[in-house]
Symmetry: C2
Subunit: 428 residues, 2 copies
């Protein structure tokens, strides 16, 4: 399905909108003034209330809208690609210039600024991958300078189970966690607020149709099981992590909160920004057959620019511009999202509509492209200086982290993901 | 609350029943002939249909029964201790000899053998701990003979997030998973069916009332957040695990299935079988203050005998008795369940009613007490011999593993947990 690149919307703010022009049409769940959460589509600075416009849809598109009822998109995700595409096509008609829907504007549109966004789905299981190879190397170097990548990295799309109950939409405050940490040079831990609080820049992947337990999803079918994408901040307590993570992996260092951008950017909206998986460097092994699919190799990667901004309380008071911490791209993913899906289910593990994957931190190889303070400051050894005169090794109370994403390509309308924000508040 | 030790039930099979005498009264979810799942109480060889007997309850006990509607106990778990105790007290009256409920026997009781058991709750998040110190030492010895326990073990109740979507009730077949494994002496993995399939004997813990994100559950309050207990088999693919688990922990080696016994044995039923946490060996550190509570130290541990049996297809054909693999006890837990709850939430992580914890493998220190084949056969080096003449390093297709638990104490009726069974079937 090609993008109607030239088509303009009767929603004036959509035309040229950085995130939500007519060509994007991400889905989400919103409420107004404490109303029950309901499904909507972002268009410019507005939100289309899908149920208020229900009688404009029929066939598969109507099935799709009906499946978004109840303030959760899980049933819609489960419907898969066909109804999702039908909904998109009808939305493109309804929101294009000349559509009669404009006469019902007051009934079906809300100002996004008046709305509260919610998680788009009930998340049954959350899995965090580690496919950002530059991040894996940068972090590995801090611990093992000569041998940063473990032997399994180029064979296994490494991932681990994350905590689903503390995933929250953009804007939720980030309470500094307390926990055990081992002071340098000591053999016994102390307990207190995390002193090395960090962000991690990740792509989030919403799972669509699930699989029955015992049935693997073949790599060639995996794209059909992906409903959409978001931004994800895998907030990390580095000092807690360092002490707790052996031998079973990160636990309390991650589970205090994970933030996501609330809009589900569909695979269809991202279609123009797909690209071939970059060839593996010479000497790297080819993926095992269950992870190898020609179509996925040719078009399973994405060109999505990713950005992280920081403001401190002092910077906001002084109206100083945000400090850019990271400018990276999804091209640093060593494994595609289809490979993640195929790997995750190859043992028969059941995926369900509304499951969320994180990509792992998507750093680039160069300074300025690192997706966490752990990498930027080399574990706190090289603090960064801010325009306010403040310095940061890790995040302080009052700091706000903003993730953004943007897709641009000659001849196509640019789209974005909306923001994923979180402000650190003091430990209780 | 003391057990009415001498009281007999009008349900004849309950009196002297190995698992479900009147003094146990575990809750579960069952169906008959494909009916909608509903809540019940195990009593002898029968199941009391709670909703069929609804008009026998009032006050808090009735609130409790009403909260078990819909084939999931989550809302009941969320009610906490008060209504759970009220329900138990009323059930003790209703099922005791002399109760008029006996006149309605045909209406309210079903033969358990005619029923199918389901998961008792929707599991939002599943966390697997590692508090069996003998298991941690036995496994650690295989990798690090001189230094089996990592430095954090005696400070941190180690745990990791598990996969919730593939937790299944006893009796669900265990499909042998496929995955990547590294053949001995090779540097590149191969793909195929797991060749080192194992069981792990664990205690399961059902979480009751949850906490708000950001609010830790104090160790002194933790017991109030535990709804009940079950048996849990953390099926493990050792060859997949060895290759995948660095640096983020076990993933596909565990997520193909986790089996639980379907009956929720309440804290009240286990009250007589509580005991003091054994004193820590000399030289071990004391728990940090957030993990230390006098009442928990004095009565937070349990004396529950745990047993694992194996039958092979050939043994069943020949009617040979099951082979006992493990006879262990919950006394080998280095951390109490209250300590697990306090630790899990100390960073503000939200627990929710229906979350499930696994204890980690509960091995004892002696041969015969090891809770996995990895320990029993020393990683496959010392195969076990069965009465059928077969040998086992790890599990073969057709093998069935049966977990059982039993609580006995002089002067009290013995109770059990019911079984947690699973039979291995060939990889697809």
């Amino acid at each position: 399905m090609t993008q109607p690149t030239q088509t303009r919307s009767w929603v004036a703010s959509a035309n040229g909108h950085a995130d939500f022009p007519l060509q994007n049409l991400p889905l989400g769940v919103f409420s107004i003034n404490g109303s029950a959460p309901r499904s909507g589509v972002a268009i410019g600075d507005m939100i289309l209330d899908l149920h208020a416009a229900l009688d404009e849809f029929d066939g598969d598109a109507r099935r799709a809208v009906e499946a978004t009822a109840g303030g959760q998109l899980n049933a819609f995700f489960e419907l898969g690609r066909g109804p999702r595409v039908a909904l998109r096509q009808r939305l493109l008609e309804l929101l294009a210039e000349g559509s009669k829907l404009q006469t019902r504007e007051a009934q079906v549109l809300h100002r996004a600024a008046d709305c509260q966004m919610h998680l788009p789905a009930k998340i049954n299981d959350y899995t965090d991958f580690y496919v950002g190879i530059e991040h894996a190397q940068n972090v590995g170097k801090l611990f093992r300078p000569d041998n940063p990548l473990l032997p399994n990295y180029k064979y296994v799309p490494i991932g681990y189970h994350g905590r689903a109950s503390t995933i929250r939409p953009s804007g939720t405050e980030v309470r500094r966690p307390k926990g055990q940490t081992l002071p340098a040079g000591q053999s016994a831990p102390t307990f207190g607020p995390c002193a090395r609080l960090d962000y991690e820049l990740e792509l989030g992947i919403w799972i669509g149709q699930g699989n029955a337990m015992g049935d693997a999803i073949a790599i060639g079918d995996a794209a059909e099981h992906i409903a959409g994408f978001c931004l994800l901040n895998d907030w990390s307590a580095r000092d807690i992590q360092a002490w707790e993570y052996q031998p079973l992996g990160p636990f309390l260092s991650k589970s205090f909160i994970t933030s996501v951008s609330p809009w589900v950017v569909t695979a269809e909206a991202l279609e123009p920004f797909r690209k071939a998986q970059p060839p593996r460097p010479e000497g790297d092994p080819q993926p095992l057959p269950y992870l190898l699919d020609k179509r996925d190799q040719n078009a399973g990667a994405f060109d999505i620019e990713l950005e992280v901004l920081l403001t401190t309380a002092s910077m906001r008071e002084q109206n100083l511009p945000a400090h850019r911490l990271t400018l990276s791209n999804t091209e640093h993913m060593y494994w595609t999202v289809a490979q993640m899906v195929a790997h995750h289910s190859v043992n028969g593990c059941q995926l369900q509509a509304g499951d969320l994957f994180g990509s792992g931190t998507l750093s680039g190889p160069q300074p300025g492209q690192f997706g966490s303070l752990l990498e930027i400051t080399e574990g706190g050894k090289k603090p960064i200086e801010l325009a306010s005169g403040e310095v940061r090794k890790f995040l302080e109370d009052g700091d706000e982290i903003i993730l953004r994403a943007r897709c641009s390509r000659e001849g196509f309308a640019s789209i974005g993901f909306g923001e994923c924000r979180g402000t650190v508040v003091a430990a209780r």
